[in-house]
């Protein structure tokens, strides 16, 4: 469903992605791990063109999204994203945050969107907070609203960029539980994370990024229990 071929990205002189190729199938949950600066977030951001690759191709359902002729907004409505800093819209209630895109991008009728949005807010366990503004919510609650907001566009895939890194420890689980529920429902997801226990439990496949390339990939069991690369072992020994 997503296919990245030889993706390169430079920021000035800094060569962040040095030829990344990967394939993600429908219904797969991919965990991307690696140290800071290894290019994992940049790669994720290339998948919905928040960063434009300097070289290489990215296909979503066979359509080359890097090509100039592709309409970005059409691609992006099929690719949801959840950010480390939540990025909820502070001047809108939780419900309005979730409703914004379906109403304005899909031009859906706002009554039916509202019902759907309330369902999604219930799904992330925040029915009593639908009318709360982001500043009235805890970090974990905000991130759950952000997940509902991404789901509202009924995307084919959701990208998570370190979704729990900005959270207090006691709030991490409530967010992970929601992501796990989505995994069980068959949602295709790509998750950049430092939560190794979670990656092991939820992911079908783990990609280990090191210095701008995917150094090793495989099932959680093979990566965590029996890594073939020295760098992977070093990385895991530092954080496990």
């Amino acid at each position: 469903m997503i296919k990245a071929v030889n993706v390169h990205k430079k920021f000035g002189n800094l060569h962040v992605l040095k030829g990344v190729s990967a394939q993600i199938k429908k219904g797969e949950v991919i965990a991307i791990i690696g140290s800071s600066g290894s290019g994992k977030s940049t790669f994720l951001r290339c998948l919905n063109l928040l960063e434009i690759p300097d070289q290489g191709n990215i296909f979503i359902d066979g359509m080359d999204i890097v090509s100039r002729s592709t309409n970005l907004n059409t691609i992006r409505k099929d690719v949801g994203m959840v950010f480390q800093q939540f990025n909820l819209f502070p001047h809108m209630s939780a419900l309005q945050n979730v409703m914004l895109a379906p109403v304005n991008v899909k031009k859906m009728n706002s009554v039916s969107v509202k019902n759907f949005a309330l369902e999604l807010i219930a799904k992330v366990g925040l029915s009593d907070k639908a009318n709360a503004y982001p500043r009235q919510l805890s970090g974990g609650q905000q991130q759950r609203v952000a997940i509902a907001r991404a789901l509202a566009m009924q995307p084919k895939v959701i990208l998570f960029d370190e979704p729990t890194s900005a959270l207090d420890p006691e709030m991490i689980n409530e967010v992970l539980t929601v992501i796990q529920k989505l995994a069980q429902e068959g949602m295709t997801m790509v998750i950049v994370t430092h939560e190794m226990g979670f990656a092991r439990e939820v992911a079908n496949r783990v990609l280990f990024f090191d210095d701008g390339v995917i150094l090793e990939e495989g099932t959680p069991a093979s990566i965590f229990d029996n890594p073939s690369q020295v760098r992977t072992r070093e990385f895991l020994s530092k954080i496990l």
Partner: protein, 220 residues
């Protein structure tokens, strides 16, 4: 010895208040138009297209770098001398003030937009909103709230600067004060009176803005 003749003030108060209404009218037109012009040029200043950016910068820099009095006289007398006549002095004045205010508002709007965390634009775009939709629904509503104080400051300046329209004979507060002074020689009483009237107008605006700011803050 201070020998004030307050009857001059009372006798001419209706005439002065009529001028105050014109001051308010001309300022209201200029504030509204300035806000529209300023928003467009503020967006243009951060456009992805360099031609648009350059054009907007030229406008902002040129208007900010030349005296308002020159701009006012240019619009009314300068244009008339090449055949572009604006009959109404009120309209000519409002036009000059709008163009002037637009340049300052453009800078305020630009700064306001740039002060919004870039994650907001990314989140909006990642949901499939176009750049303009993201601006309209996500960035500008937050930016406007944040720029209320500098905008109010700008509008207070504008109301005071409208006194310069007396130079082209717009019958606003300052011009009418000049009429009365020429007739009565009561410079002290009349100038104090219009100063108080200007202050009442600007202070009311300032308080109204405080209220607006407090109300919008409670919600976000």
């Amino acid at each position: 010895m201070l020998d004030l003749d307050m009857t001059v003030v009372w006798d001419n108060l209706p005439y002065m208040l009529g001028g105050a209404i014109i001051t308010i009218q001309v300022s209201a037109i200029a504030v509204t138009a300035g806000l529209v012009i300023g928003s467009l040029f503020g967006l243009a200043r951060i456009s992805a297209y360099w031609v648009i950016r350059v054009l907007a910068s030229v406008y902002v820099e040129f208007i900010r770098g030349t005296p308002l009095l020159v701009q006012i006289m240019f619009i009314y007398f300068g244009l008339a001398s090449i055949g572009i006549t604006i009959e109404s002095r009120l309209l000519a004045g409002a036009l000059a003030l709008s163009i002037n205010s637009g340049a300052y508002v453009a800078e305020i709007v630009r700064a306001g937009i740039q002060s919004i965390d870039k994650g907001q634009m990314e989140a909006a775009r990642s949901l499939g909103l176009s750049y303009l939709q993201a601006m309209r629904h996500v960035i500008l509503p937050q930016a406007y709230r944040r720029i209320i104080p500098p905008l109010v400051n700008e509008f207070i300046m504008l109301i005071k600067d409208s006194s310069l329209l007396s130079a082209i004979g717009t019958a606003e507060l300052m011009k009418r004060a000049q009429h009365i002074r020429a007739r009565t020689f009561a410079d002290f009483e009349i100038l104090i009176s219009i100063a108080v009237i200007y202050f009442i107008i600007t202070f009311t605006l300032s308080k109204a803005a405080d209220y607006l700011e407090r109300r919008t803050r409670i919600r976000d």
